[in-house]
């Protein structure tokens, strides 16, 4: 069954692109149902910082080779205390995306045991992909201020 038949709330953005807006609790059920119905490729998990709304958007991307259709399942989580259940039991590769989003945005995925240093080692500041992290200021105050090696 195609995604629009499975979920009446699914919107068609254009040919081959389906978007489903849902809540935290229902993502797991939707992913499982899609997996059973031919959408067996979990493409990626992405995150968007909607700083003015005080929310993060998590988007789970799924692909079906059978229908050649891309389904995006979107949820919003609170920006102050961002938590989400880990879905690594449905697709094991989600674990890696969760680690990345934990590092870059600070979303806490409950049930993922490997949330720790990933690409950045020992990063002491706020997660760098958040909109309120001023990259340019950080670079100018840090990398450019590391002194050159002075030769006598």
């Amino acid at each position: 069954m195609m995604a629009q038949e499975l979920f009446p709330q699914a919107q068609k953005i254009r040919e081959g692109r389906i978007r489903i807006e849902t809540t935290k609790d229902e993502v797991g059920t939707i992913l499982r149902k899609l997996k059973e119905n031919g959408y067996d490729h979990f493409v990626m998990l992405s995150c968007i910082d909607w700083i003015n709304d005080g929310e993060f958007e998590l988007v789970y991307h799924m692909w079906s080779y059978e229908y050649r259709e891309h389904v995006m399942i979107s949820i919003r989580v609170d920006r102050e205390n961002p938590t989400m259940l880990s879905l690594r039991d449905i697709f094991p590769q989600i674990e890696t995306y969760e680690r990345e989003i934990h590092e870059m945005f600070g979303v806490n995925f409950i049930g993922n045991p490997r949330l720790g240093d990933f690409i950045l080692e020992g990063w002491p500041h706020i997660p760098p992909m958040r909109k309120d992290f001023d990259t340019e200021k950080f670079v100018k105050d840090f990398y450019y201020k590391i002194p050159e090696v002075r030769e006598e």
């Binding site: 690409i119 950045l120 002491p124 990259t135 670079v139 105050d141 990398y143 201020k145 050159e148 090696v149």
Partner: protein, 182 residues
């Protein structure tokens, strides 16, 4: 024979057998396959890739370095035996290149390890790389490629900069600046 003469001879010989560490970072690594293989064939200069840093003489930094990669680069560099030479590829190693405002790539390689030669370009063409190799040989012959001596002499300064980068800490930078001012 005097000691100086021996050094001259050893330089003359060693410039013709430069082995490089097989360690590539960034996009500049893409230009290495044509240089290494039959199209440009760097082996005719006595250069080839070596699997372990302990047996290698040159380290090519082929592009941008994340701080995490820099840790590995420093480790590799320190494992290499003297004399050793470093070539920085492309604008990323010179001033950060197109990653000048990235939060996670170092901007100026020579602050962390001594660089004997930079190649301009983003990315440098194989012709430029070959030219740099010849230039490096020339520098070795004349005794100008002395990065490894600099690393020994200013070891504490290099180490300080490496520590600052690894910690991503601003206050540590300020403290050191104040120390310098005193």
């Amino acid at each position: 024979m005097r000691n100086e003469d021996w050094k001259k001879i050893s330089r003359l010989v060693s410039k013709r057998s430069l082995w490089m560490v097989h360690f590539c970072t960034g996009c500049g690594a893409m230009e290495m396959p044509p240089v290494m293989t039959s199209r440009y064939d760097m082996e005719r200069f006595g250069m080839h890739a070596m699997a372990t840093p302990r047996q290698a003489d040159i380290l090519l930094i082929t592009g941008y370095l994340a701080v995490k990669t820099l840790k590995r680069v420093v480790q590799v560099y320190e494992q290499m035996q003297d004399p050793k030479y470093v070539i920085g590829f492309g604008s990323c190693t010179i001033n950060g290149g197109m990653y000048w405002d990235s939060y996670n790539t170092i901007k100026d390689l020579s602050k962390y390890i001594p660089v004997d030669l930079y190649i301009a370009g983003c990315m440098p063409r194989p012709e430029a790389i070959m030219d740099a190799f010849l230039k490096l040989m020339d520098m070795i012959d004349k005794g100008e490629a002395i990065g490894w001596k600099k690393y020994r002499k200013y070891y504490d300064q290099y180490k300080r900069n490496q520590r600052m980068a690894f910690a991503y800490r601003l206050d540590e930078v300020k403290e050191i600046k104040e120390d310098d001012a005193k």
